[in-house]
């Protein structure tokens, strides 16, 4: 069952495009990564799902309920951590969290204490006196204190130090193992790579690719580094199916997507003196999509991107 489902969801701010005909399905129990650069439409999608903004057209359902008509029912089971956290002046963290908990009509005190202990947050400090990272921790607790069935995280780790990020990811994984579905938006791809089981890439308000992490990383994308005797040989080398070619001195770097046999044949026929083939990280795959322009980029991303070198190996 899809916990989140959008159909041709469109949001325009006046004449400015936010998202356009966005179709998204997040299944129950998965951690779904939503990646794209700033301005691609991630936050617009999330804010529409939370009914903070109203769709221009199309529809969005959460738990099978309409996000506009059934907002109250839906939000009882949704935890949201925005990218930027702001709170009322003069409140202590515990006051803010108690206020937040009062909307869910649950005794959240044990949960607040448990999360505060794990995140090393002093609940009795005034929020105004907290660092940005500690305010983010308040945000994490207020998003999770009612043990939501759906957790929506919009660029969640900004301000958290690496150790705290690990703790945060661990908490999210535990929530997920306990049955919560997670929608995790980020432009930091390594975060998504660590967490998500499936991802959607959003570009210019459209989802251009939805795949499992495993598919995305193993779909014959290879990071290829060839070393030649001379820079001239490196510059002269061409490889069909390659993208993001960079030549530094006598080294040729690219992301290859295609038949692995053709790759091996091309390398064998070249004058390369050293070869390094590795799995690309998500960042590199992602940039591969983002460098792609033209109709192929959005209509059929599995087609060779326009920027690929079309030279026989």
């Amino acid at each position: 069952m899809a916990v989140i489902e959008t159909k041709d969801l469109t949001k325009y701010y006046g004449k400015t495009r936010g998202i356009e005909n966005l179709n998204l399905a997040v299944e129950e129990g998965e951690i779904f990564g939503f990646i794209g650069p700033n301005g691609a439409g991630k936050s617009t999608t999330i804010r529409t799902l939370l009914n903070l903004i109203f769709p221009t057209s199309g529809s969005a359902m959460i738990f099978g309920l309409d996000v506009v008509k059934d907002k109250v029912k839906i939000l009882k089971d949704v935890g949201y951590l925005p990218s930027e956290v702001f709170y009322y002046d003069g409140m202590r963290a515990i006051d803010l969290l108690t206020y937040s908990a009062s909307f869910y009509r649950v005794d959240a005190k044990p949960r607040i204490k448990e999360l505060a202990d794990r995140l090393d947050l002093d609940l009795h400090k005034k929020i105004d006196d907290l660092s940005y990272g500690n305010r983010k921790k308040v945000g994490i607790i207020q998003g999770l204190l009612h043990s939501p069935k759906l957790i929506i995280l919009d660029e969640p780790t900004g301000g958290l130090d690496p150790l705290m990020q690990q703790t945060f990811f661990q908490i999210i994984r535990e929530q997920n193992q306990a049955g919560a579905t997670v929608l995790f938006s980020s432009h930091i791809l390594s975060e998504v790579q660590k967490m998500a089981s499936r991802i959607a890439i959003i570009k210019d308000g459209n989802i251009i690719k939805t795949e499992t992490m495993a598919e995305m990383q193993k779909e014959s994308y290879k990071k290829v580094i060839l070393t030649f005797k001379t820079p001239e040989e490196a510059k002269a080398f061409t490889l069909a199916g390659s993208d993001g070619v960079e030549v530094h001195d006598n080294t040729f770097n690219c992301i290859y997507r295609g038949d692995i046999h053709l790759l091996v044949t091309a390398i064998a026929a070249s004058a390369a003196i050293d070869v390094h083939i590795a799995e690309p990280d998500l960042e590199e795959v992602f940039m591969h999509y983002y460098r792609s322009d033209g109709p192929n980029a959005t209509d059929n991303v599995s087609a060779a991107p326009a920027s690929h070198k079309k030279v026989a190996a």
Binding site: N51, L52, I53, K71, L75, F86, Y88, D89
Partner: protein, 265 residues
């Protein structure tokens, strides 16, 4: 009721402070009344030396100034100004609280309908105004008995006192509309002072030129003290306008609050 409780708690201290301030302003003016009354001849001469337009603008009716109601009608303008600024401040700050603190995402992602949230904010604001005015009007009525009220109708005195309450509810609604509709709000007290003084000036202007078109933009003059003292009642059409000024801005701001996209922080 979470929003109601939250707002009511936030308004508690400002409400206490404003109650004390309003009672203190009224008390200070009241202290002047016995002196004013005992030196009525000199004050009459002094007031008559002022240009008529100035007396009209400052709501100084020489014929009635030395009765409690006449004196009250004069200085209630200034109490009205203070209470109007307070009520407008409450309206702006309650309905722009999330805009100012950038907490719209925090609040509106909670499982409450926006209509419900709006009504809870409204109820908290009204509760504060009712609480303040129970004490304040109670204090005014007490002062009627403390001061020399010879020849001063109690009904007129009560109507003049309630006029201060009606003004507050009008100004609260105007403040609520500003707080909701304004794209950005930084300092509610600045907005409230600006609106309060602006409308006070239009009231003075109406006092000089007595033009009904000007009176429409001078809520302080909707329930004219001259009319109240002459008829011992409110001028019904203008009282109706008061009700409209309370209801219409609230209705508009409620629709806006419920339907408007929340701007991203």
């Amino acid at each position: 009721m979470s929003v109601f409780k939250f707002e009511a708690r936030r308004l508690l201290i400002p409400s206490i402070v404003w109650t004390v301030v309003l009672c203190a302003i009224f008390w200070c003016f009241s202290l002047l009344f016995p002196t004013f009354q005992s030196a009525s001849d000199q004050f009459t001469q002094l007031l008559n030396s002022f240009p008529e337009q100035m007396r009209e603008a400052l709501n100084m009716d020489v014929a009635s100034m030395f009765t409690l109601n006449g004196f009250f009608a004069f200085y209630s303008m200034y109490v009205m100004l203070a209470s109007a600024i307070m009520a407008c401040y409450f309206g702006v700050s309650i309905f722009a609280r999330e805009k100012i603190a950038k907490t719209s995402d925090f609040l509106l992602a909670k499982p409450e309908s926006r209509m419900n949230m709006y009504l809870q904010k409204l109820a908290a604001g009204w509760l504060a105004l009712v609480g303040i005015n129970i004490v304040f009007v109670g204090f005014l009525l007490l002062m009627y008995h403390v001061l020399d009220h010879t020849g001063a109708s109690y009904t007129v005195y009560v109507l003049l006192a309630l006029n201060l309450v009606i003004i507050q509810f009008m100004m609260f609604s105007i403040g609520a509309a500003i707080g909701t509709l304004a794209p950005k709000v930084r300092v509610p007290s600045g907005i409230a002072s600006g609106v309060g003084f602006g409308l006070f000036i239009t009231g003075m202007l109406y006092g000089i030129i007595k033009d009904d078109v000007v009176r429409f933009v001078a809520p302080f003059q909707y329930l004219s003290s001259d009319f109240i003292m002459a008829h011992s009642r409110y001028d019904w059409p203008w009282l109706g306008l008061c009700v409209a000024v309370i209801v219409v801005p609230l209705a508009v701001s409620m629709i806006w609050y419920v339907r408007k996209d929340v701007e991203s922080t």
